[in-house]
Symmetry: C2
Subunit: 197 residues, 2 copies
DNA sequence: GTCTATAGCTTGATAGAC
DNA sequence: GTCTATCAAGCTATAGAC
């Protein structure tokens, strides 16, 4: 169940520049199609058509459908991290991430849908979400601790609980976005954060 | 897309006692199968086999697959409401609901999965989730207001924001349950509630 | 109200040429 | 690395007998 890229050592995948471009195009297009048709109604064939390759051609790059979709999320996580690292700010991590993804409803829809599907332990994406949840949680805990030390967050609050609540709130708002597109995710997380200061 | 039961007037569906029993058995069994196999891998045929009827027999009662699954959630909402009304308590509504559903992971999995699938406006369950979200939100707002009047909740907090945060937290925790079954949903919501008192 | 039978489609994945 | 061709399997929903 472990993906290739995780088992592989630090060295880069050996691919041509052309192949890399194709991979990126596929990932972008997959997100676009999912946004348009919905996660459940999106087939490999439909993505392939939008890209301009065949379904078999796509599977050459990603092996399975789930691997492709997980890769969309993985790449977006990496991109998010780079964007946030490059431009450090005062706002807590979950708020900044929410702001960064505010105009990517398709990404949030994919995230929520795949997370739900990966609920079953045997699912190909189960390990990805388990690891991600743990990693992001630790990240936020560290952030909260630092701000407690700086006197920015109340010292009597359990950092673990604060992180859990912030991240679950973030996930829940993304889930509710389908029923009410007007929800302001970043503003809501920011409001809760303010209760902790 | 509007379901029969919504368009129909208040009068009861005219079904035999035997038919009613079958309906209930189907709804219970559907939840059991979904818990065992996962939402995405559950077909009408598999539920039918577990019930001991044919797939066509089930569709006679519910029309479509989505209508069946929505009905599972709808009946559970009704059951929840009755249970909470019958035994009124001091704890806020979301905490009591969480406690009541704590031992029903299959229900939470179905809820999260169907909510994600119903994200697309055209989806058969879209209206159900939109209406439900609004209804539950109003319910919690009323609860919060009453407790503010009773001096139990800080009066400076916007009841709307409090309700939004509590409900999104609830949804998010249910979504994360797949990746970490050890999460204590009720305790986490209770902790956040305590920050508002 | 439950059944059998099947229509009618779509799907993910593979084999193998080029 | 991309293609064509195809497979085997699965699905929901419907028609119509009983």
């Amino acid at each position: 169940m472990t993906s290739d890229s995780e088992a592989r050592p630090a060295r880069q995948r050996r691919v041509s520049a052309r192949g890399q471009e194709t991979r990126e195009l596929i990932l972008e297009t997959a997100l676009e199609v999912i946004g348009r048709r919905g996660y459940g109604a999106t087939s490999l064939r439909e993505i392939a058509d939008a890209v301009g390759v065949t379904q078999a051609g796509m599977l050459h790059h990603f092996g399975t459908k789930e691997a492709l979709l997980v890769e969309v999320l993985r790449q977006r996580d990496i991109a998010n991290r780079r964007a946030l690292d490059a431009q450090p700010g005062d706002e807590p991590t979950p708020v900044r991430v929410a702001r960064h993804n505010a105009n990517a409803p398709a990404l949030m829809h994919l995230y929520v849908s795949l997370q739900a599907a990966a609920s079953t332990p045997g699912h190909p994406a189960h390990d990805f979400f388990r690891a991600r949840q743990e990693r992001v949680h630790d990240l936020v805990v560290t952030d909260v601790r630092a701000r407690q030390a700086a006197g920015e967050v109340r010292a009597d609050l359990d950092p673990d609980r604060v992180a859990t609540v912030l991240l679950a709130l973030s996930d829940g708002l993304q889930a509710q976005l389908g029923a009410d597109p007007d929800i302001d995710i970043a503003a809501t997380i920011e409001w809760l954060w303010a209760q902790f200061t």
